[in-house]
């Protein structure tokens, strides 16, 4: 099974619910709404055999666009056919259903995206910070983030 047939399968099964497909891009991707995601994830894993979540990236696309999560999924065989799935959410309502039960890798990756960008993954069993200290405030990789002047009384912004 190669990428073209994966895309064809997904298109056939989901139709209009796949909002964008770009196979010419450097990293070919499909796009969907958050509501479609749990079903699509199951489909990709069980029907297309994409059994490895290689990477989950969070991106701040800036004002007017919002936050984005990119999932790179691959097949664990010699051909390593794979696809990226992109999901975009507005700042005010940055919620994406969790897929940690589909791919176990998603557990820590979702925590990281929550920690650094503030994307909430609904249904995650333990959505707490993973890199920053537990009592850190804000999400550091957001474009409008200001680092704290002091942390526990220690001066932080020195220049």
């Amino acid at each position: 099974m190669n990428r073209a047939s994966i895309v064809a399968d997904v298109r056939k099964a989901f139709g209009e619910r796949i909002t964008e497909v770009d196979e010419a891009a450097l990293e070919p991707f499909i796009r969907c709404e958050p509501a479609t995601w749990p079903e699509l994830a199951r489909f990709l894993k069980d029907r297309c055999g994409l059994d490895m979540l290689v990477c989950l990236s969070g991106i701040d696309r800036g004002k007017g666009v919002g936050l984005e999560a990119v999932y790179n999924v691959e097949r664990c065989d010699a051909q390593r056919a794979g696809i990226a799935v992109k999901i975009r959410v507005p700042y005010e309502d940055a919620v994406i259903p969790s897929v940690e039960t589909v791919w176990r890798t998603a557990d820590w990756h979702e925590r990281e995206a929550w920690d650094l960008l503030g994307i909430r993954f609904a249904g995650h069993h333990n959505l707490v910070r993973i890199l920053c200290a537990e009592d850190w405030e804000g999400h550091p990789l957001r474009k409008d983030y200001k680092s704290p002047d002091r942390y526990h009384g220690i001066k932080n912004n020195v220049v």
Binding site: C132, W136, P140, P148, K155, N156
Partner: protein, 182 residues
């Protein structure tokens, strides 16, 4: 030498010490032993730790100066080489390890990160801007990372400081650096 002392020291008749008397100041003796076996704590936080390992390896061989045994516990260490980026999350742990070391203890800040925040000084929201904000630093070794020679030079500075220690001056007035409070 009297016979009893000879026996106490278990010196045979052939010993070269037999006809000699060794005199030294207790201070000097203790400082000499101390500076000849500065045991650092195993403490690598980031890229600088690689250079610290190189310093321990055969080319630079820190063992020549008595600092080969990197201890895995603060209780057995005299010197804390903070090698690497200290994040705000790590800072309390560094402080606790320092507190667990027995006196006299020394801190060597290795690399730009521990000296001042280094490459992270402006945009490193999570990086402690200099480890001297949490523990008193005796010697700063700048560089990103410092070469092993520089680290050895830092060790010699620590040894010089140790030689100035006085046995009954528990407070070590003037010797102990201050924590930076801003």
């Amino acid at each position: 030498m009297s016979e009893t002392l000879d026996q106490e020291l278990m010196l045979g008749t052939e010993s070269p010490l037999q006809d000699n008397i060794l005199i030294t100041q207790v201070d000097k003796l203790i400082n000499w032993t101390r500076r000849s076996s500065v045991w650092p704590m195993t403490f690598g936080l980031a890229c600088c730790a690689i250079e610290m390992m190189a310093t321990g390896a055969s080319t630079y061989d820190i063992d020549r100066f008595g600092s080969g045994p990197f201890r895995a516990t603060p209780r057995q260490a005299d010197l804390m080489i903070v090698a690497g980026t200290v994040s705000h999350k790590m800072a309390p742990r560094v402080k606790r390890l320092f507190d667990q070391m027995p006196e006299p203890k020394f801190v060597l800040a290795m690399g730009a990160c521990t000296v001042s925040g280094g490459p992270y000084i402006k945009h490193g929201y999570h990086v402690l801007k200099g480890v001297d904000r949490i523990v008193p630093v005796d010697v700063y070794v700048p560089g990103c990372p410092p070469r092993p020679e520089a680290l050895l030079e830092g060790l010699f500075r620590i040894q010089e400081k140790m030689e100035r220690e006085r046995l009954f001056d528990r407070t070590r007035v003037g010797a102990r650096p201050k924590i930076l409070v801003e």
